[in-house]
């Protein structure tokens, strides 16, 4: 039993006057032991990031202030420390790494310059020794060819390498506490796995205490020793990982865990005789970005001869990491982007052969639900107009179109009155519902869902996924579901295609692919899913009942 190194006692952080609530963090007490990983979990608005910044004294003063409580690092209250003392402690006793390494690093300075700064500020080491230490540190975070990489700029290396460099920078003075604010959220799942392993190794070998902020329970299952759950600025649950993950006591935690899709694919009866609604053959797309300011052209082969089919009533999932071409595929199928070659046959008509004008009449059969709930609705249009506009353009009289809009709003779980309001008055989950209603307004045969739940909190995610499944069943729609999240894909898709570098490397029934992946990349993807060994199903059935009651009581998002 190691003692506590970081003790947070009744911390409260005030928000400025114009914010929607008075405090970001309310009376939170936590303790971090000397040799453990403590995961702080919560959805957006839970206050976890604010708390992390408060510990380091990095709150954007004067807007956010820690108004009450103490933060004791080895007995010393950081909230009372003056600026000079805080500066001396940072990086030396306690360090922090951030979510987005591209913006967290200065783009005009080399890696070695930025890491060297830490040494220059805190130590008296001569230059040569500093360089040696930097190289050694970079090697210890498994960056190969450290001497060469040191001289690189942040934009010249990959996201995973950047994050490793940040970890090296944070740990070079061997602090006893590391605060990690969602360091893997912006990374691909395979890269994430590597970083998680690195953090765990580093923590073990240096006997550090790590506070790991995340929203992903899978990550928690992967690395946490103890877990703290936050909601609306309060700490609702705190205990050993096994306890919280498998037998949570607080209803919020139970609801959150229940909302997480498992990796076990749901089995739906397959209907192999349904007609084909979409056939894609030999689809190719290459992007040429002309280099401005004298650079050379960059050539990116986004799609290399992709083929797929979807039947009526079936959901095909396209899974891949960033850069795999899945978004380009969706956009080429809908002809928002012009593919170079190939055919896209929708209901026996090849869209690639149609002119722009001819295409317009056919577009109604394939509709999209987009990823970003904040960018997918025109902020200047009322919700009713957004939904009714599609039918109106197709010649439906205005009154009928509006009536359809009303009924669709009710279908997706919103009130009729919503038609008169504007997008900014709704939450992210509600906006996605509006987007779905809009897509349905034209009575399409195929629904293309491009990462429709990636930008949503986990509890909201479950609801939107349920809605999509309902709609698909009710209207017998074919659905093309793009995602990077293997859990979500397992939940929704009958068949699945795995994409990498513009090609489909494996496809088949979801259950089969997950149980017995053939391609090495698919295996790597499945192996990288955090917390895949964690069996939450027991919790799920128990909590399902209380979860829906909890959500009803606290309001649907």
């Amino acid at each position: 039993m190691s003692e506590t190194i970081l003790d947070i006692e009744r911390l409260s952080v005030d928000l400025p006057r114009w914010a929607d609530r008075p405090q970001a963090v309310i009376d939170v007490s936590l303790a971090l032991r000397r040799n453990e990983i403590l995961c702080v979990v919560g959805e957006s608005g839970s206050g976890k990031s604010v708390m992390a910044r408060a510990i380091m004294g990095l709150l954007p003063a004067p807007h956010l202030r820690a108004s009450a409580g103490r933060v004791l690092l080895d007995g010393e209250d950081l909230l009372q420390a003056d600026a000079a003392r805080l500066r001396a402690i940072r990086c030396r006793r306690i360090s922090m790494i951030f979510q987005e390494p591209m913006t967290a690093l200065n783009p005009v300075k080399t890696l070695s310059a930025q890491i060297d700064e830490v040494l220059a500020v805190h130590t008296d080491l001569p230059r040569r020794e500093r360089t040696d230490r930097i190289a050694a540190m970079l090697e210890s975070v498994r960056l190969s060819d450290a001497r060469h990489l040191m001289r690189a700029y942040p934009h010249e290396i990959s996201g995973g390498q950047r994050q490793r460099a940040m970890i090296a920078m944070a740990l070079i003075l061997e602090p006893s506490v590391l605060i990690a604010d969602e360091p893997t959220t912006a990374l691909d799942v395979t890269t994430q796995a590597g970083i998680l392993a690195l953090i765990r190794d580093v923590q073990r070998s240096r006997h550090m205490g790590v506070v790991f902020i995340t929203h992903d329970f899978g990550v928690v299952a992967e690395i946490a020793d103890r877990v703290a759950v936050m909601q609306h600025g309060r700490l609702v649950e705190f205990g050993e990982a096994a306890q919280v993950l498998n037998a949570p006591s607080h209803p919020y935690t139970q609801a959150l865990i229940a909302a997480i899709p498992g990796l076990a694919p749901m089995n739906r009866p397959a209907n192999g005789s349904a007609p084909l609604v979409l056939t894609v053959r030999a689809l190719e797309k290459t992007f040429r970005a002309s280099g401005r300011r004298g650079g050379r052209d960059r050539v990116v082969r986004a799609l290399k001869s992709v083929e797929l089919t979807i039947r009526r009533g079936e959901t095909l999932g396209v899974v891949g990491e960033s850069g795999s071409g899945k978004s380009t595929l969706a956009r080429c199928i809908v002809r928002l982007v012009h593919a170079d070659n190939g055919s896209v046959v929708v209901r026996d008509v090849d869209w690639m052969r149609l002119s722009r004008r001819q295409l317009r009449a056919h577009r109604r059969y394939v509709q999209i639900v987009f990823q970003d709930p904040f960018g997918s609705l025109d902020p200047r249009c009322s919700v009713g107009r957004l939904i009714a506009e599609g039918p109106i353009v197709c010649g439906v009289p205005q009154a009928d179109a509006l009536a359809r809009a009303y009924s669709l709003l009710e279908l997706v779980g919103l009130e009729r009155r919503a038609a008169d309001r504007y997008p900014h008055e709704f939450s992210g989950g509600q906006r996605q519902r509006i987007g779905i209603a809009r897509a349905l307004a034209l009575d399409p045969a195929i629904l293309v869902a491009d990462e429709p739940v990636s930008a949503l909190d986990v509890s909201v995610q479950a609801q939107v996924l349920r809605l999509l499944a309902d709609i698909r069943d009710r209207f017998n729609l074919a659905m093309l579901f793009i995602t990077h999240d293997l859990r979500v894909a397992a939940q929704v898709c009958d068949r699945i295609a795995v994409m990498r570098d513009g090609e489909i490397v494996e496809h088949g029934e979801t259950a089969r692919v997950y149980a017995d992946p053939q391609h090495a990349y698919t295996r790597a993807l499945l192996a990288a899913v955090p917390g895949r060994h964690w069996q939450a199903s027991a919790v799920r059935t128990v909590a399902a009942g209380s979860a829906s009651a909890f959500i009803e009581h606290h309001g649907a998002p």
């Binding site: 990086c91 987005e100 913006t103 967290a104 200065n106 783009p107 005009v108 004298g294």
Partner: protein
């Protein structure tokens, strides 16, 4: 080093790319002459009044006005390429020689202005952004606001009124004191004294522009994530400002400076006219007065080439400051 070689190749490529632009400008010149109402030769001779028949004949010959248009065009191109820019009857010299004679003072004025406006602009913007909405920020921002609205010629005249006429600190016009035949360092000092007011006048407007740009750029960069990272490393606020934010914040200013070069040359016409500074701006004004279109077009062409050259230099400087831009 490889980067230097890349830069040399880039400069070469930009010069090649500039050829079509220059071609368009030359064509534009040609069109402008023929667009003017009346016979081109009349236009070119202008209302000088003293256009002798020989000069008119010379003009007609030079422009081949009796020949078909495309032949005229090709001849004109050929002339321009060989820098045969014509003859200014009014001034009594070949256009090319006239321009070369006057180019130096204009370059001096422009160079001083660029250095002054960017230097002071960045400095004041830095100071203003250091403590936003403070007294010094408001003072600097107000100064920038007013300076940005002030007409160049008026500022110049007011400066002359104040510093030359009332206070007698600085000379009223010209580049040198012609009566006194200074040499060596005394000449440099003399030129410098004459340079103060014109450079200050021309800089004022652009200084205001760069102050505002630098201030907003500094504020924007101060909110960036890498600043939080730097703070988490234990750097002082001063170190963060000077070692991290400054360089990033300067980039838009450098870009803007490149964009403004053309306007700067235009402004020098006004400033050189007000101060009698013997550069190509004043030459342009005189050509305007004398309706000496030939000379005007020659100046226009040279000015455009100058802008292209400065733009290339600015792009190279930018690539030095911002490693994300790699010139290949």
């Amino acid at each position: 080093m490889q980067v230097a070689r890349g830069r040399a190749r880039y400069i070469g490529r930009r010069l090649v790319q500039a050829v079509p632009t220059i071609l368009v400008i030359v064509t534009l010149n040609f069109l402008l002459v023929h667009l003017a109402p009346g016979n081109a030769a009349d236009v070119l001779a202008g209302e000088a009044g003293s256009a002798t028949p020989q000069y008119m004949a010379y003009l007609r010959h030079q422009f081949g006005l009796d020949q078909p248009l495309y032949v005229q065009y090709l001849d004109y191109l050929k002339n321009v390429v060989t820098l045969e820019l014509g003859y200014s009857f009014r001034e009594g010299m070949a256009v090319r020689d006239l321009i070369l004679q006057r180019l130096g003072p204009t370059l001096l004025l422009m160079g001083t202005t660029i250095v002054l406006s960017i230097g002071v602009g960045i400095l004041l913007g830095l100071v203003a952004a250091g403590r936003p909405n403070s007294l010094r920020d408001n003072a600097i921002s107000t100064f920038a606001l007013v300076a940005y609205a002030t007409p160049l010629f008026w500022v110049g005249l007011m400066f002359i009124l104040l510093f030359s006429i009332e206070l007698r600190w600085l000379p009223t016009s010209g580049m040198t004191n012609i009566a006194a035949f200074y040499t060596g360092w005394r000449k440099v000092g003399d030129v410098a004294r004459h340079l103060v007011l014109p450079a200050l006048t021309l800089s004022l407007f652009y200084m205001a522009l760069y102050v505002r740009l630098m201030r907003s750029s500094m504020l924007e960069q101060s909110g960036m994530d890498y600043v939080v990272t730097a703070r988490s490393k234990g750097l002082t606020e001063r170190a963060i400002t000077w070692r991290h934010v400054l360089r990033n914040a300067c980039l838009p200013v450098v870009t803007m400076a490149g964009v403004q070069v053309g306007n700067l040359l235009g402004g020098s016409v006004v400033v050189e006219t007000v101060f009698g500074w013997p550069g190509i701006g004043l030459l342009a004004f005189r050509a305007l007065f004398a309706r000496d279109l030939n000379l005007l077009l020659g100046i226009f062409f040279v000015a455009a080439c100058l802008v292209i050259a400065v733009n290339i230099i600015v792009d190279v400087i930018y690539s030095v400051l911002d490693p994300r831009i790699r010139l290949r």
